[in-house]
Amino acid sequence: MNDGAAAPGATDAGEGSLESAGRGESEDRETDSVAKLSLHGITRRYGRETVLDQVSLDVPAGGTLVLFGPSGAGKTVLLRVVAGVVEADAGEVLIDGRDQHGIEPEKRGIGMAFQNFALFPHLSAFENIATPLHSRRGEGATRAERRDTRTESVERVARLLKIDHVLRQSPGALSNGQKQRTSLARALVAEPELLLLDDPLRNVDAKLRFEMRLELPRLLADQGTTVVYVTQDYKEAMALGDRIAVLVAGRVEQIGSPEDIYLRPATKRIATLFGDPPINLLDVDPECDADGPYVTLSGRRYPLDPALAVAVGRQCTLGVRPEALRFGDASEPGAIPVTVEAETPLNEKVVDLVTTVRGREILVSRPAHLSGPASGEAHLVVPMERALLFERASGERIRPRGGSPGSPDTDAGGAR
């Protein structure tokens, strides 16, 4: 793996402060410049249920923040609070440092697009896209001039989204993909400084979703817009977010770069939500002997990073991603015997389900062009340097004290 690589906007791996699971995040960053969007302690209850619980985060100008989480986590409600359609019970929304309390949704300079497209059925695609422009009267311009500017804006954004050939059609005559592009065009046409996208690719087919996932970053970068993007698809979150806020049950469980989230997840749950096939979780009880801390898998001693000595004596769960595992020889140090139960191709990968001698199930994946055992007895090599350790009961990741080169953590002294 090339560690010098960069996902869009990935932060330095050394920036350990981002890992504080949403707590105190705004103090660590952007203190020297005003964030485009800041949320402080947003709380919202419906009856007795708290759907948003003290949500705080910042989005720098021009950045893309992805709100990721399972359904019911509060993502859409949070987006609506930012838009001003739903009022928070507590906390404040700041845009360019200005408190938005009492400011009407249409005065906040926000563009929005939704998963259900929300197009006006009686208007053409052109008229749908043009709707945000009606309320903005160019001062001093004549009516004809305003109309020309309007047409120009709509056509420009339609060309960008490759729907310029269907502008005269009504939504009913458009394919799902075209509807979704029309909805995006409407969100973009007024060149809003802040764009809220609520799972816009949810209802389009896999191929189109993939195409849009590739196209969107360029489109958004060209507009220079600050974006908050809601999704339940971890690949979309990784691909589109400079940073990802993982929302679980109304709380921000972690906020960080895609790299932070994937390589240094704050909790077992986050580790499980990112990755396909998902991370393997194996219960272990770290022990210590003269050679240092270790865990036992299938009767084999696996040395732990000495910086993880804090885990000794605690009940833990070891997390190993399927792509970190590989098949090897019986003679290799740390190779454990397994039985391959089934081989299931997955896109450009092959996934094997194997069982250990104690009957634990483990998923192993590899690039499709590499060969491996399809069935029968085999040996599995577990690379401890790529494994994560979680406290079993709380699910919190145990972070190495002092750090050590080669471990997923490069942040020093990061234990909470």
Binding site: M1, N2, D3, G4, A5, A6, A7, P8, A10, D205, A206, K207, F210, R213, L214, P217, R218, A221, K235, M238, A239, L240, P258, E259, Y262, T272, L273, F274, G275, D276, P277, P278, R321, P322, E323, E341, A342, E343, T344, P345, L346, N347, E348, K349, V351, D352, L353, E361, L363, S365, P367, A368, H369
Partner: protein, 373 residues
Amino acid sequence: MSQLEIEDVTKIYGAKRDAVAAVRSLDLRIERGDVVALLGSSGCGKTSTLRMIAGFESVTSGTIRVGGRDTGRLPPAGRNIAMAFEGYSLYPPMTVRENIGFALQSARVDAAEIRRRVDDMAAMLEIGNILERYPSSISGGQQQRASLARALIREAGMHLLDEPMGQLEPQLRALLRGRIKHYLKERGCTVILVTHDQTEANALADRIAVMEGGELQQYATPAELRDRPANLFTGTFIGEPPMNVIDAAPVLDGTRVRLVLGEGVSLDYPRDAFGEPVVRVLGEHPRVTLGVRPHAVRVAESGAPARVVVNQWLGDQSHVAAAFAGATLVAVEHDRVSFARGDTIRVAVAAEDLHLFDATSGKALAHGAEVVA
């Protein structure tokens, strides 16, 4: 004798001017112990086909034989088929346990044996904790798994599964796919599953029947579909990310094959990289459509220049899209790569990784050095 033989089957709904052909002249053979997926988007004819096999729909013309017997007058119950269908729902007054064990009870299997087998099945599908509950009090995903359990527990000549894992949470999917495949293979079950999800079809099936517009596009193993797509439809339908498609004009001389793409870019190969049969096919086609799988795009030291549009790291692989010859070329790297937007990279595609399609009909002409007969 095949377990299932579908011969020239057509299904037409409606009459005269309103007639719609849902399935046209379908031929399909399924051997005992095979797991076959009917794969396609909605309206492709896959569900109509499944319903005809089950006996829920009549056949307009053609023959369906199960275990060598013509099913023409055979009612659904006489076909020895176990089913998990959408809308073929659980019995509401019975618990999940009773639902799953119902067929065994009817077959007068010993109560303790039923209990053991239901427990095993429930453990496999992760529904052990809801066995004593009633269908109305469990989630849609759990109902789907209970329905699947009820079908899989039966010893039948054939199992028909309609979108069996459509509602499964992503975290469970990979594990259950592995367990189910192991279960089916161990017992030698003959299975037909209908799905619109290619990852599900690829994961579970020995062979996949790709359908579109009521017609069978290709019937082959997952590996064959990947390496030898019969036409542009199958080529671009199967595979994630989808196959790259670029128009090309072949130019041949004594020693070289040049595939001229847009914007003055061309791919250049020695003639023997393809072999004479493919070179001859290229000579007969002034224009062809090239297909290149994203994993076959090599980012190399030398090669044609491409400008990186986006580089997306997904944790276990990187998707790099680049502007290339007036089109967009997507490459998949299993390691993380550091390209940024605007970077110029050089890309190469080995002759053996090129799929050539007829520019008009979309029919496959050649895969690498292999001419399609």
